[in-house]
């Protein structure tokens, strides 16, 4: 029973490509929010959702301290039984746009990170029609078999610097806002 609840729906990766302004966006999903909560904080924990709206002053203070732009005033956070935090946030880089889950403990230290959705943009359309054809009609429920449906891409190494910046911003958000709650 415990096991069932741990990763309720078998973790299947869903992948898809769509066009936006003449560019191809390649998106992959990894763990769900519930799965990431359990991976980062343990299956026994409880998560209380909390809606936090940053004030303009708070946004300014966080941006100044972290040297990272604060794009959104609304935070998607959960509080754990041990007064830790689980935050789902978006990191927007030059080439990538990702949904990130971050666990911050009661002392304001990063306990873990997990990428939930990864999107990468290509300069122009993917030429191989066969490659694109695989995405038509693929739902998240489809039993995606390893590498049969999941394409692997090898190319120049993309730096994860934007994640580092995003985590830094969230640590300052903890310092300025979350720890006082």
């Amino acid at each position: 029973m415990h096991r069932r609840s741990f990763l309720g729906n078998a973790a299947v990766a869903a992948a898809g490509a769509f066009c936006l302004n003449g560019q191809v966006v390649w998106a992959e999903t990894f763990l769900t929010v519930e799965q990431a909560q359990k991976v980062l904080w343990g299956s026994a924990n409880t998560f209380t959702p909390s809606h936090i709206q940053l004030t303009k002053d708070e946004m300014k203070a966080i941006a100044k301290a972290s040297k990272v732009r604060v794009r959104r005033s609304r935070l998607q956070v959960w509080r754990t039984a041990e007064k830790g935090w689980f935050i789902v946030d978006q990191v927007i880089g030059k080439h990538e746009n990702i949904d990130l889950a971050v666990a911050i403990d009661v002392n304001g230290k990063v306990k873990g990170l997990e990428v939930l959705t990864y999107r990468e943009t290509y300069g122009h359309e993917i030429r191989n029609d066969q490659w694109r054809a695989q995405f038509h009609g693929k739902g998240t429920e489809a039993d995606l078999r390893l590498n049969k449906e999941i394409r692997n891409i090898s190319g120049a190494t993309l730096s994860c610097r934007h994640v580092t910046d995003g985590v830094n911003r969230l640590l300052h958000t903890w310092h300025h806002v979350l720890r006082h709650l």
């Binding site: 096991r3 080439h95 078999r145 993309l158």
Partner: protein, 267 residues
């Protein structure tokens, strides 16, 4: 068959892991934890960016006194020494000093001004000593090594793909394909896997110039190609992409390591 896909920032890039095995969700999750833990362990040894890493200790101390190496560092540096010889000096991990000078790697306090090349490095019986101050950077090979080590923690019946920002390894690998980004523009080129591992290098995404430094000039390359290498070891594939940029003819190297090299675009 249960499957699990995770992606975590590590090794300075995004590391994606796909697993499939006849097992339960908990076990698969534990396997993925073991893979990421091994990556973190190797990164903690090999990172240039961490002042407490073994690599930083070697860079700091090996000019003053011989430094005893961990088995992992000894294994990786022994391969670097072998490839230096076999490539006629084109594969040289002492380019760290050049990369610090141009700001591609962080400078560190308390380091002697780097002067030497790999010929100043003495590697013997698990110890390293520098005849002249040098700065080793394993950026061209350690990511592949980490992928090899992390794949090795998985049981044989577990299917897996581990992709550390383009340095990838999979099993099984036969009859599988992989997308490689074409130069400037990023359309995907379809390649059939030729071996268990594939590594790709190019200047795309790099804001501080080409990731490959020419050890003869100390300067980054200006080369628009995308170079991919297939090999049974991801460490070998990773390192040979650098040789392929620096050497016109890599035939003897790819023969020696039973590797396959694919170039997209022109220099």
């Amino acid at each position: 068959m249960k499957t699990l896909s995770r992606c975590k920032p590590a090794l300075g890039t995004y590391v994606k892991l796909h697993l499939a095995q006849e097992t339960d969700d908990d076990s698969l999750l534990q396997l993925s934890e073991a893979v990421f833990a091994e990556i973190e362990r190797i990164e903690a040894i090999m990172s240039f960016h961490r002042s407490e890493s073994e690599l930083s200790r070697v860079n700091r101390d090996a000019f003053r006194q011989p430094v005893v190496l961990s088995s992992e560092m000894n294994e990786l540096l022994s391969f670097c020494a072998e490839l230096y010889d076999r490539s006629g000096g084109t594969f040289d991990v002492t380019v760290g000093g050049d990369m610090v000078k141009r700001g591609a790697l962080p400078g560190q306090n308390g380091f002697a001004e780097p002067r030497g090349r790999w010929d100043a490095v003495r590697l013997e019986a698990g110890r390293i000593f520098f005849g002249q101050p040098v700065l080793l950077d394993l950026g061209g090979v350690a990511k592949g090594y980490a992928v090899d080590k992390a794949m090795a923690v998985l049981p044989p019946d577990c299917q897996a793909v581990l992709n550390a920002g383009g340095d990838l390894k999979m099993r099984p690998w036969r009859h599988r394909t992989v997308g490689v980004r074409e130069p400037s523009g990023g359309a995907l080129h379809h390649l059939d896997m030729q071996a268990a591992a594939l590594a790709t290098s190019s200047a795309e995404f790099h804001e501080q110039g080409h990731p490959v430094t020419n050890p003869k000039s100390g300067r980054p390359l200006e080369d628009a190609r995308v170079i991919s290498v297939f090999a049974s070891s991801c460490m070998v594939a990773d390192a040979l992409t650098k040789c392929a940029f620096l050497q016109e003819d890599t035939h003897h190297l790819t023969m020696m390591y039973d590797a396959e090299c694919v170039c997209l675009g022109s220099p």
